[in-house]
């Protein structure tokens, strides 16, 4: 299905600056905002133009597909995408590839992985697992009594982190050690209300999993109101600067840092390189997940909050 | 008369086309129908008169299924009936012009005239594809309006909410006149009509009666009532207080009955003719 507009416009654009498309899951999550800022900065540094588009909510396959199509029409050299649903957008990605556009997944893998040319991502299962291991270790011999502050029901990242955490804790879904779970949509307000309600029911807990740092803050506020500050092991994931500050302030024990800046820079570099000489990157590149805590525990590689503050993403 | 449990008192002479006994309808503190009786005989024009708020509209709403009374019985040709909706009354052949007109404001005249009784094209386009026969609906609508003398309507596709008050009322009357098959009830059908148009409606009512169909006419216009009615049902405070024949009574007597200044049985009151069949017009 060779059509004119695809090859024409990408050919035409090779004269001007390289156009890079970035498709994030949403515009709302600060994490993606940082991702796009980094990408923008990287593009500027390389003399490329970045067009950033996003879905409307986590899981907006339709929005991402439309974004990909519109970017291809626009004549971008390559698309960086944090795929909303690992399989939902494969068709659009394939069409983009067929039209000679370089496609790189950021942050989240596609399934199958070779639907994109390359992937620069955090392994969310690993990130969840790090949180789980740390929380388990901090409990020592005490039998865990856990509450789970999940994200959006059914979200990919949500499930991966959840699964990872339970692996790290050595638990399974349905284990009696899990005293409750609630979706928070990663929203502090929802997390706080959910935690309050769960605590009303049963306050004898000693560990909390949180999908991200806003959820952790909500959970911690509810715990504090119940007088449980410091008595419950709370972990989180993200590595935003506020999260690192929270760890430093002792609001929760640890967070697992991601590196969106790295992903963005590598992604932009790859597209620019492809635009120059057609070299395609390939494979999965884990951009890493780093446990940040001021109470290091033996057997777990961690950095302290000072390091975290220097490397946090927003 | 206050007791809704009174024994059925069907007239032995002729069975009324429509009869009601002991109807009651309360709205919180307000009692709109308070044990009302009603008799309509075949082939007559029955005028229903009464003060504002006497409960005339409520009564005919109960008779036409628009309102479900709390108590009381309704008999159609002697058979006890319960209308659960205006649709059921209409299917029984009772056509009503409501005081509120019951028109769909954003739709045009022809559509409103045929609302709920649309004509379909003949042949498979009609039966299978349910295609409306707009042309003939428009034509018939135009004819009907012309027959009522409404000549200022500039096109039959005009939206009803843009019509003048009288034009709107004419549409509602035209509709009832077109479709009544057993009886027609008209709640103040000429209130907004001009001199000529009112005349036409009165003629129309006569023509309907002459076809043997009874007509209930609610009106505040005494000359009109006396000109047209075979019997006059006087309503007051939610119930029937008298039925008189125009020939037996004067306008001022009827007005006195309406306001309660006079009661049936009082000296100077006209004779009550409840439950006596109207003279047949043939």
């Amino acid at each position: 299905t060779q059509t004119k507009s695809g090859s024409d416009s990408s050919g035409g654009s090779s004269s001007g600056p390289v156009k890079v498309g970035l498709v994030t899951k949403t515009d709302t999550n600060p994490y993606f905002v940082k991702l796009r800022e980094s990408a923008k900065a990287a593009a500027e540094a390389k003399g490329a133009t970045l067009i950033a588009v996003a879905g409307k909510f986590d899981g907006d396959n339709e929005g991402q597909v439309a974004a990909i199509e519109n970017l291809v029409q626009q004549g971008v050299k390559g698309i960086l995408i944090t795929p909303s649903n690992s399989t939902g957008i494969l068709g659009a990605l394939k069409q983009a590839k067929d039209k000679g556009v370089l496609v790189i997944a950021l942050d989240t893998e596609t399934d199958p992985k070779d639907a994109v040319d390359a992937t620069y991502a955090t392994n969310n299962v690993t990130a969840g697992e790090l949180q789980g291991k740390y929380v388990k270790a901090s409990l020592g011999q005490t039998a865990p009594k856990v509450l789970l502050m999940d994200g959006t029901p059914g979200g990919t990242v949500d499930q991966q982190r959840h699964r990872g955490f339970l692996q790290g804790m050595g638990l399974k879904d349905g284990d009696p050690a899990i005293l409750g779970a609630a979706p928070t949509n990663g929203d502090q307000n929802k997390a706080q209300a959910a935690m309050e309600n769960l605590l009303q029911r049963n306050a004898s807990i000693n560990a909390v999993y949180t999908i991200n740092e806003p959820a952790a803050r909500g959970a911690v506020a509810a715990l504090a109101a119940k007088g449980l500050s410091g008595k419950v092991a709370v972990g989180s994931i993200d590595g935003g600067c506020q999260g690192v500050a929270d760890v430093k302030a002792g609001k929760y024990l640890a967070t697992v840092m991601q590196f969106p800046k790295k992903m963005a820079e590598q992604g932009v570099d790859a597209v620019v390189a492809f635009g120059k000489d057609g070299t395609k990157p390939s494979g999965f590149q884990d951009t890493g997940a780093q446990l940040i805590t001021d109470k290091p525990l033996p057997g777990l590689d961690s950095k302290d909050s000072t390091w975290g503050a220097q490397n946090c993403w927003g | 008369m206050t007791s809704p449990a009174a024994a059925p008192e069907t007239s032995p002479a002729t069975t009324p086309a429509l009869q009601a006994r002991g109807l009651v309808k309360r709205y919180g503190r307000v009692t709109a129908i308070d044990g009302a009786d009603f008799d309509l005989y075949a082939g007559e024009v029955l005028a229903v008169v009464g003060d504002n708020g006497a409960g005339k509209s409520s009564l005919i709403k109960a008779l036409s299924g628009a309102l479900i009374p709390d108590e009381g019985r309704i008999l159609l040709d002697g058979q006890e009936t319960r209308f659960h909706s205006p649709l059921e009354a209409r299917q029984a052949g009772i056509e009503t012009v409501h005081q509120t007109l019951a028109l769909a404001p954003a739709m045009d005249i022809a559509t409103n005239l045929f609302l709920g009784r649309e004509l379909r094209r003949s042949g498979p386009v009609g039966s299978l594809f349910r295609l409306l026969d707009q042309a003939s609906m428009r034509r018939q609508a135009q004819e009907q309006l012309d027959a009522l003398g409404i000549e200022t309507v500039q096109h039959i596709g005009q939206i009803v909410e843009t019509l003048s008050g009288g034009q709107r009322q004419a549409v509602a009357v035209a509709r009832a006149a077109m479709f009544g098959s057993r009886m027609v009830i008209m709640d103040e059908p000429t209130a907004a009509l001009g001199v000529k148009e009112s005349r036409q409606v009165l003629d129309l009512i006569r023509r309907i009666r002459d076809r043997g169909m009874p007509v209930v006419l609610i009106s505040h216009d005494m000359p009109q009532v006396f000109e047209l009615a075979d019997r006059i049902h006087v309503h007051r405070l939610g119930r029937r207080v008298a039925v008189v024949r125009p020939a037996d009574a004067t306008m001022s007597q009827v007005v006195s009955l309406m306001t309660g200044a006079l009661r049936i049985g009082d000296e100077g009151a006209p004779p009550d003719v409840t439950d006596q069949p109207a003279p047949r017009i043939s």
Partner: protein, 339 residues
């Protein structure tokens, strides 16, 4: 008769300029979709002039494809809004439909049977909303909000966190299609949408049922008093809308061959937006399905055009917000002009 002719004469002798004005007035009053259409055309012209990539057959086809699912949802929504209702559950019903289709086929059901089951369930869910609205006389907003919550949860329970890729050719057929004039890609989904909108237009304007739908939204009490089958008509609208959502589900699988419980979370609002931009009143009884198509296209055109213009999504949001208001303002001004 003489009188009427006279009256008409008074109109016609008011002359050329006025005649034209009166004719445009009439057009605007009788075709509520004209205003939105004008806005759409202006948007297309502006984007064609300012970007080199917008006005290509390829892109135009894409824009239409992008609008299909929302347009189909909005078709069902239009019916319901015309009766004075609102449906917040439409996208949720559709998403459940996609999951039924996909999961059943994945688990070995014959595709045709899976389609039937999916259509049946969507229709049933529409009927439940309709039944509650019609016979318990509950506000459509609350009923469909409750349905939304329930159906989303059921969808997630049913999916158990999975999404279901679709490989079956029947389920994906609406995304397939051929080329017209060798260039313009026309998918079966587009054809289906055209057919559905045509049928809906026909049913709403050329059949008694359609008139009853309008009458119901116009003045429910008047509709009841005229002896329309009020309950039956209202119920039928929700039922039919349910079926239309099943078609939307099929369309969605044609576009994205993957059934995901989290997709189309803003589908309800998007569809209402298309309906309202298309000139249909949320108070019921006034509007048209043609307007709805135009409304859905306006949104897709804005999104595509702004991306072609290289505008960042945050600024795109600002622009979309402003332009959507502007599109409706344009319609209003056209109407006011003609009053």
């Amino acid at each position: 008769m003489a009188t009427r002719t006279e009256a008409r004469a008074a109109d016609t002798d008011s002359g050329g300029a006025l005649g034209l004005r009166n004719r445009t007035t009439d057009a605007f009053l009788h075709n509520p979709a004209l205003g939105p259409l004008g806005a759409l055309i202006i948007a297309v012209i502006v984007f064609s002039a300012t970007t080199s990539t917008f006005l290509t057959v390829d892109n135009l086809s894409l824009v239409v494809q992008q609008s299909l699912v929302v347009a189909t949802l909005a078709l069902g929504q239009t019916l319901i809004v015309l009766t004075g209702g609102i449906d917040l559950a439409n996208a949720a019903i559709m998403v459940l439909g996609t999951m039924l289709f996909a999961r059943l086929v994945t688990e070995g059901t014959v595709p045709v049977l899976a389609l039937l089951v999916g259509f049946g369930v969507c229709a049933l869910l529409g009927a439940v909303s309709g039944g509650l609205v019609t016979w318990l006389n509950l506000p459509p907003f609350i009923v469909t909000l409750g349905m939304l919550t329930v159906i989303l949860a059921i969808g997630r329970l049913y999916s158990q966190g999975n999404s279901w890729p679709v490989t079956d050719s029947l389920l994906g057929v609406l995304g397939q299609g051929g080329y017209l004039f060798g260039q313009l890609r026309v998918t079966h989904g587009m054809t289906l949408a055209v057919v559905m909108f045509a049928i809906a237009w026909y049913a709403l304007t050329k059949t008694a049922w359609g008139r009853h739908v309008y009458a119901l939204g116009n003045d429910p009490e008047a509709a009841r008093l005229t002896g329309i089958h009020v309950g039956r008509t209202r119920f039928s609208v929700y039922l039919i809308a349910g079926v239309i959502y099943a078609f939307a589900a099929w369309q969605a699988l044609g576009r994205i061959p993957n059934a995901d419980p989290n997709a189309f979370q803003t589908g309800n609002l998007d569809s209402i937006t298309a309906v309202v931009i298309g000139g249909t009143s949320l108070f019921g009884g006034r509007g048209s399905v043609i307007g709805t198509v135009v409304g859905a296209l306006i949104v897709a055109v804005l999104r595509s055009g702004l991306t072609q213009a290289g505008i960042d999504s945050l600024y795109q949001d600002v622009a979309t917000g402003v332009l959507v208001i502007a599109a409706v303002a344009f319609d209003q001004l056209a109407r006011r002009r003609s009053r």
